[in-house]
Amino acid sequence: MGADAPVDPALGLRLLRAMLRVRRFEERCAELYSSTAIRGFVHLYVGEEAVAVGVLDALGPDDAVVATYRDHGHALARGLSMRSVMAEMYGKVEGCSGGRGGSMHLFDVGHGFYGGNAIVGGGLPLAVGLALAQRRTGSGGITVCFFGEGAVAEGEFHESMNLAALWDLPVLFCCENNLYAMGTALERSESNVDLAVKAASYGMPAWAVDGMDAPAVHHATSRAVAAVRSGDGPVFLELHTYRFRAHSMYDPERYRDHEEVDRWRDRDPIETLAATLRGLGALDDAGWDALEAEVAAEVDDAVAHAEAGTVEPVEDLTRHVYAERNGTAL
């Protein structure tokens, strides 16, 4: 099944709902940021939802996920509760990282979610190591590592690709190519902009996927996951996508013009999939309204929960620096 193949309605509706949850959650985040309820750096995933949703729907419960600092979509798509993610945005104890991480560092070991990593390229060696442990312990799980196309310029990318391929480790590398590393366009930072070709040079299967098409992403990932799980070593996916909003909450967008943004907005992954499902008769106005209402209620609930959440006492400041032994920090 490719982009033109028929979409399974059940899968399509599941992906649509997952993407809408990410979109509405983040739109609320933007509003909360503007009113200073949320602070720090907040990187929105708006426009790129099909990537995280399509990839993570194809994983199993024993798999591990390493994400980037633009990680709300990955966390929600991996199954972290919206309450725990929103509470983390508020820095509350109920947050998925207990308020210590914030937007860029969402963690949930119970969901195999090993965090948003805020150093570009820094998560790749970690993912290689998680895969190494999976192989050594025979857990049967694989590790999926998300990173942006900007990471391809980092040494850690090349070291990690090489090591994973050399040792045939079960890693699925998912390169979210949204064309800009912050404000630097890909062609201004890479000698070869065909990233799948670069990855293939390490001796691993690599191909490009339309990252605005959630079912296509899901399909490609399923194939890749099967290959990785079989023990044949890592696979690289280049997912072509685009972020509709600023790099971090707000930026002057001097590096791209509005026409380009508008062209990509025409390919909004949510609207595209909704139209497809309407064409298939799997979605109507009532269904859409119900979906919107359900998601809106979940977002409202998450905000209420976060606002009512617990503020950690400053006496706890030095917790979690070292393992706690007999109740006291080292």
Partner: protein, 327 residues
């Protein structure tokens, strides 16, 4: 128990590794040339043959990737020992050590521990010039979330690795390159040591000298020399640079009233700076003289022997610092 068993520091390190690999199936060693080559300093010689390639893994020259892989593997439930040839090359993995190993537990609200051991050689003294002669323990000791230890005796070389592996947090073990040929008795083989405590290696009532690594041995030699003049130096082996056991140093200073800190790293922002500050904070009223420091000269360590010697801590320099705080 074999009371007459004398081994080198290098052999003691190997015995520690062997005990670690034999004692826990989850433990494996990885790093550059640890397998077929036998380790760049011969520490892991024979371990590949004994434990096989799945337990002793040669890596590419990718410090960031294999240190990061060690972090990921430790998170994933196995117990890697990562060897970086020398502290100089660890800078290529600084991102993984400082941004990941040290922070993951905190950033995740306590969910993600990193029980990883990273071993590396530190120090100068072998005419290897600047890029192979750094002593950067103090840099790592600056970082919360890491534990930094320095075995300076044969017994600690053998036993500290076991303690480090038992620790639930990342432990950096700094093995001093100038000590590989040091000999000492190891009657009981590797025995775990308390990583929270410094230890008095030589008692004395006049001056406290705190040191680790090669500087510890320079200090012990200086103490011997000074004893002939009737000066009794108490030598404290710091052992763990983070968390720094200032209590043991303060207790010693309470007896002697004087402190000299000797270290192989540079003076500015060094271990001595930290210890001097803590003694000023907590032991001011016990001080009978300003704190003395002996450290490497503030130059990249040069190749030429007389220049390198002049740059490094020596028994003469320690003795002179001791005399200065006594005068």
């Amino acid at each position: 128990m074999n009371p007459d068993r004398t081994v080198t520091y290098r052999e003691a390190l190997r015995e520690g590794l062997r005990a670690a690999l034999a004692g826990d199936d989850r433990v494996f060693l990885m790093g550059e040339d640890v397998g077929r080559y036998g380790g760049c300093f011969g520490v892991s010689l024979g371990l590949l043959e004994e434990f096989g390639p799945e337990r002793v893994m040669d890596t590419p020259l990718s410090e960031s990737a294999f240190v990061g892989a060690g972090i990921g593997a430790a998170i994933g439930g196995v117990r890697p020992i990562v060897e970086i040839m020398t502290v100089n090359f660890s800078l290529l993995a600084l991102d993984q050590i400082v941004n990941n190993a040290a922070t993951l537990r905190h950033m995740s609200g306590g969910q993600v521990g990193v029980p990883l051991v990273i071993r590396m050689t530190t120090g100068a003294g072998r005419q290897l010039a600047a890029q192979h002669s750094h002593s950067l323990e103090a840099w790592y000791a600056h970082v919360p979330g890491l534990r930094v230890v320095a075995p300076s005796t044969v017994a600690d070389a053998a036993g500290m690795l076991l303690s480090a592996l038992a620790d639930p947090d990342p432990v950096l073990v700094f093995e001093h390159g100038a000590l590989f040929g040091l000999t000492g008795e190891l009657p009981d083989g590797p025995v775990p040591v308390d990583l929270d405590r410094a230890v008095v290696r030589r008692p004395g009532r006049d001056v406290t000298v705190a040191a680790h690594g090669a500087a510890l041995h320079a200090s012990l030699a200086a103490a011997e020399e000074l004893a002939a003049d009737g000066v009794e130096v108490e030598v404290v082996d710091l052992r763990t640079l983070r968390p720094l056991d200032h209590d043991t140093v303060l207790a010693s200073v309470r007896r002697t009233g004087r402190l000299v800190v000797a270290e192989d790293g540079w003076r500015s922002g060094g271990i001595g700076a930290e210890l001097a500050a803590r003694v000023a904070e907590q032991g001011f009223w016990d001080l009978d003289a300003p704190v003395g420091r002996v450290a490497a000269a503030e130059v990249p360590i040069p190749y030429a022997k007389q220049l390198e010697d002049a740059a490094l801590v020596s028994p003469v320099r320690v003795a002179s610092a001791v005399r200065a705080v006594l005068s």
